[in-house]
């Protein structure tokens, strides 16, 4: 039976148990890397560098994790801080030029399209979408993570989605 996050953390803290920590990394790598890929608008290399930084920080500070909150939420906070710190240091990246919208019958809107479209959103819209989709966070948890009111988060999600819709979903052709 797989051990819970709490048991694995206890094992790491009690005896420098690297196997337990590797299990935690394996368990959470996908969601942390996924979050960072969205925040970096699809820059997989940068996202993975930041994700590595997140887990090394987690290793050092594991004792400060309060068992009451989910470990994933704690990791997302570290990831958010790592990304925010990186974004402050690095100049904003110019979004790539938009590609022409595909025909309506082409359903294969892939990750690359999404990354390209996400890069064209305002940072707060992209961030709001990144933390509310695919991370199993409630709106309250996501707003707490970003340090903004729930209403602001929801507005940014709506605006971001509307822009994505315009960028990714072709308008149906008007019938004569």
């Amino acid at each position: 039976m797989p051990r819970s996050d709490t048991e694995l953390v206890a094992s790491v803290l009690a005896g420098d148990d690297r196997r337990a920590f590797a299990e935690l990394v394996g368990r959470h790598q996908s969601s942390v890397r996924g979050l960072l890929r969205r925040l970096t608008a699809g820059d997989a290399a940068l996202a993975d560098d930041l994700a590595q930084q997140v887990f090394v920080t987690a290793w050092r500070k594991l004792g400060s994790w309060r068992g009451g909150a989910r470990l994933s939420t704690w990791l997302y906070r570290i990831a958010w801080n790592a990304w925010a710190s990186q974004a402050r240091r690095a100049p904003p990246v110019e979004p790539p030029p938009p590609e022409p919208a595909r025909p309506a019958d082409d359903a294969a809107l892939d990750r690359r399209d999404l990354a390209r479209a996400l890069a064209q959103l305002r940072p707060e819209e992209r961030t709001a979408l990144a933390v509310t989709y695919g991370q199993e966070l409630t709106h309250e948890e996501a707003a707490d993570l970003l340090g903004c009111p729930v209403g602001t988060l929801k507005s940014n999600v709506l605006r971001g989605k509307e822009k994505l819709r315009r960028l990714l979903v072709p308008e149906p052709e008007a019938t004569a």
């Binding site: 790491v12 803290l13 009690a14 420098d16 690297r18 920590f21 590797a22 990394v25 394996g26 790598q29 996908s30 969601s31 890397r33 996924g34 993975d48 994700a51 590595q52 887990f55 090394v56 290793w59 050092r60 500070k61 594991l62 004792g63 400060s64 809107l109 990750r111 999404l114 979408l129 989709y133 695919g134 991370q135 989605k161 994505l164 819709r165 990714l168 979903v169």
Partner: protein, 115 residues
């Protein structure tokens, strides 16, 4: 009821294969058994203090400094151990505490018999 295509897109599986990521993280961790940097610094200070106490002609004056310093050192070591959040291997912790005790004893002995 049809789903919003943007929702579908954003909900694309975020499950990323590990692809060696866990191994990469594990290799980036500090080596097993290594003490935190602050603790290493504290031990270096201890070594320098002990060497100075042996070499200096004014042993009495230095003895007081060693006694005072060892108290601060013990405090520093305790802080370093706390900062390690329990990830410090117990052997290293025991060695550090042992060295602090030796420094304290040495300092007290020199103060008691400075001549």
């Amino acid at each position: 009821m049809t789903r919003d295509p943007v929702d579908d897109l954003l909900d694309l599986s975020t499950s990323l294969p590990d692809d060696g990521f866990t191994a990469r993280v594990m290799s980036a961790l500090p080596p097993e058994g290594s003490a935190p940097r602050r603790l290493e610094r504290a031990l270096r200070v201890l070594a320098l203090g002990a060497a100075a106490a042996v070499l200096a002609p004014e042993a009495g004056t230095l003895a007081r400094a060693v006694a005072a310093g060892s108290g601060r050192l013990g405090e520093g070591l305790a802080r370093a151990l706390a900062a390690a959040n329990g990830t410090l291997p117990s052997e290293a912790g025991l060695v550090a505490v042992g060295l602090a005790l030796v420094a304290t004893a040495l300092g007290s002995w020199l103060v008691a018999d400075p001549g």
